[in-house]
């Protein structure tokens, strides 16, 4: 493999470009109109415009992406996550063009990507599943029949997109009267995000944890599970913090879920990277939830505790190489890793999207810190895509040290121009329940509700004083710099000359 086209954008496109570079493979980018200046475009060897900003007209256009792959002479296509990553038609179209799709086969994507079919596959592998509908609800089922089906599952229930992932096209329904609206909203969101509006119902378990198992599977029948990831810190079904290992997983439970995950993958002849998600109830019972037939957003934490580069292995597996990793090592984590998903959202106003131009970006670094990002200062965060701008990962020898490191990194993180969730994470990482590991999938939504919108950032009196000093000094120095650039008028000469000298001093310091 000499050239890989990355059918994605943002931080994950950058992540795949990095893996390509390290394997001496030439990375090829595609971009929509609003992504012309994006980092993934600037880091690639070749970049091709594939259409307007709306995903359906660019990053979801199978025909255009395959055409670019052909034209550029790519011999591999990496789909990243989201967009076309779990679209079997895309994987098939890439294969039909004589290009290697870096992921599972179209048949495996279809079997596991379809959430209702995946549940059936898990049952065949004798893995318990969360109770729910066996078939997707057709678009023409009348509201009355939908209500009957929902009543059979029982409330509270979840409306989920059959093609879903990342919390898109998902709604919780507690009151039956909210059902028709929830189904409509989920269908519309799923249609926009995945090009498939089908939904199904699933029973909502009481206070479960979301635990998932990363897998790598080669094309020679070897399936290797990794130590679990704990992804219970979610806001409206969207993961916001992930860590590995989980405090809630005993060695016995780890053996049970990792071997169940491998069994499900083997049952469908799965290849490349994938993740099996489980819900674990309060008594430690694990239920198959779904399989993601792609790289996960949170893959870096697994890389940090196992030392395995998952993206590099995706490419090696696609080249037909054999997995030669020590299975024991993958289940014995070295230390602890935590990821915070940094979103362009305003946590002080209900986490509303906060698109716009990033004016300033200071990214934390130092021991144990990794920031996977597609953002740079001067770049616009567009309104068209997922608002995640970076994944901040902290690794340390144990969980308390990893938390301390993450707090330190969040303190260093500075983004101006747009609102981000950094202040929210600074708050969350101080919460006793988080520190003690006492949480479940609705914990975050519950404590956020209790806060009833109190701001996450409440500047101290000292910070307010410094803000006033800083704002005035910045204005004074800017005014001086401006007057230094123009000949001073006679009346203000004495006044401005002093400031001019200061501007010159500042100018020198800037150099």
């Amino acid at each position: 493999m000499k050239k890989i086209l990355i059918a994605n954008r943002g931080e994950i496109a950058v992540r795949v470009i990095r893996a390509c570079r390290e394997l001496a493979i030439s990375p090829i980018a595609v971009y929509s109109e609003c992504d012309r200046s994006a980092l993934h475009v600037r880091l690639a060897d070749e970049a091709y415009a594939i259409g307007p900003s709306a995903p359906r007209e660019s990053y979801l256009r199978i025909d255009r992406i395959v055409e670019v792959a052909r034209k550029s002479g790519a011999d591999g296509v990496h789909p990243g996550y989201g967009f076309l990553a779990e679209n079997e038609d895309f994987a098939a179209a890439v294969g039909d063009a004589g290009i290697t799709f870096i992921g599972p086969t179209p048949a495996a994507i279809e079997a596991m990507g379809n959430k209702t079919a995946a549940r059936a596959a898990a049952k065949r592998a004798r893995v318990p599943v969360v109770p729910g509908t066996e078939e997707p609800l057709a678009a023409d089922v009348p509201d009355r029949d939908i209500a009957t089906i929902a009543a059979r599952i029982g409330y509270p229930l979840l409306v989920k997109a059959v093609a879903g992932g990342g919390g898109k096209g998902m709604r919780t329904v507690t009151d039956p009267s909210d059902l028709p609206n929830a189904v409509r909203a989920a269908r519309s969101e799923a249609g926009a995000a995945f090009g498939d509006a089908a939904v199904y119902f699933e029973r909502r378990l009481a206070q479960p944890r979301h635990i998932e198992v990363q897998l790598l599977a080669d094309e020679h029948g070897m399936v290797l599970p990794f130590v679990e990831r704990e992804c219970s810190i979610q806001r409206r079904h969207q993961k916001v913090v992930e860590e590995t290992p989980s405090l809630a997983v005993s060695p016995a439970l780890r053996r049970a879920i990792t071997s169940a995950a491998a069994a499900v993958a083997k049952a469908v002849g799965y290849t490349n990277a994938g993740t099996i998600e489980f819900l674990v109830d309060e008594s430690g019972g694990a239920f198959f939830l779904e399989m993601n037939t792609r790289l996960q957003v949170e893959h870096p934490i697994t890389e940090m505790v196992t030392g395995v580069d998952l993206v590099r292995w995706q490419i090696r597996i696609a080249r037909g190489e054999r997995l030669d990793l020590d299975p024991e090592r993958l289940l014995a984590p070295n230390g602890h890793a935590i990821e915070c998903r940094i979103y362009a959202e305003d946590p002080d106003h209900g986490f509303l999207p906060s698109p716009g131009r990033i004016r300033q970006l200071r990214v934390p670094s130092g021991p144990g810190i990794r920031d996977d990002s597609g953002a740079t200062a001067g770049l616009d965060v567009p309104i068209f895509y997922d608002p995640m701008i970076s994944k901040l990962v902290a690794w340390a020898e144990d969980r308390p040290l990893a938390i301390a490191r993450m707090r330190r990194a969040l303190r260093e993180y500075l983004v101006s121009g747009i609102k981000t969730t950094v202040p929210f994470f600074r708050w969350l990482l101080e919460q006793p329940a988080f520190v003690d590991g006492r949480f479940h999938t609705t914990y975050l939504d519950e404590i956020l509700k209790l806060r009833s919108g109190r701001p996450f950032v409440e500047p101290t009196a000292d910070a307010e004083q410094l803000a006033a000093i800083g704002a005035a000094l910045d204005a004074a120095l800017s005014a001086a710099a401006t007057s230094a650039a123009q000949p001073a008028s006679r009346s203000s000469e004495r006044f401005s000359s002093g400031w001019r000298s200061q501007a010159r001093i500042e100018g020198l310091r800037t150099l």
Binding site: P353, P423, A463, L473
Partner: protein, 181 residues
Amino acid sequence: MLARFARVAFDALMQYEVEVGGRRRQVVITREGDGFAVAVDGATKHVDVARIDGNTLSLIVDNVTPADITIAPAAAAGHMTVHVNGTPVSATLNGRRRWDRRDEGGEPDSAPQRLAAPMPGKVVRVLVGVGDTVQARQPVVVVEAMKMENEMRASRAGTVAEVHVREGMSVEAGAPLIVIQ
């Protein structure tokens, strides 16, 4: 040469009114040695300043305490976010009135409810028409941004007086959506 300018500058003075945390503060800046004497409402501190880049100043206050200041101007004139060691603080320079959502809270109950787009996006559904009666918390418009649909709800019961958007329309942040009487 520099010394002469510094002596001249010592006499010079610049004054600003800065509103932070809902309070207006008078800030007076004079040259003092290599740095500045900065008085906020009469309390003076010595501040050494180094400009890091167009938006960022590094301060050392009273010869000891470093503070990183990054200024991000907002759309409204004079309004800005000042990041103090990474903590965002809203500020308005020269006493121009601070534009803030909190300022909108004082509306009496009889005033019409004006729903505005909270962020740029696309109107995917308009659920009410002029003359419709709505209940408190009833969804009236759905705005999509960044692939998430956000339901805009009536904050209290009333009658729809104006509808400014239709389905499929793109809206800017702050664009009027619906007025409820």
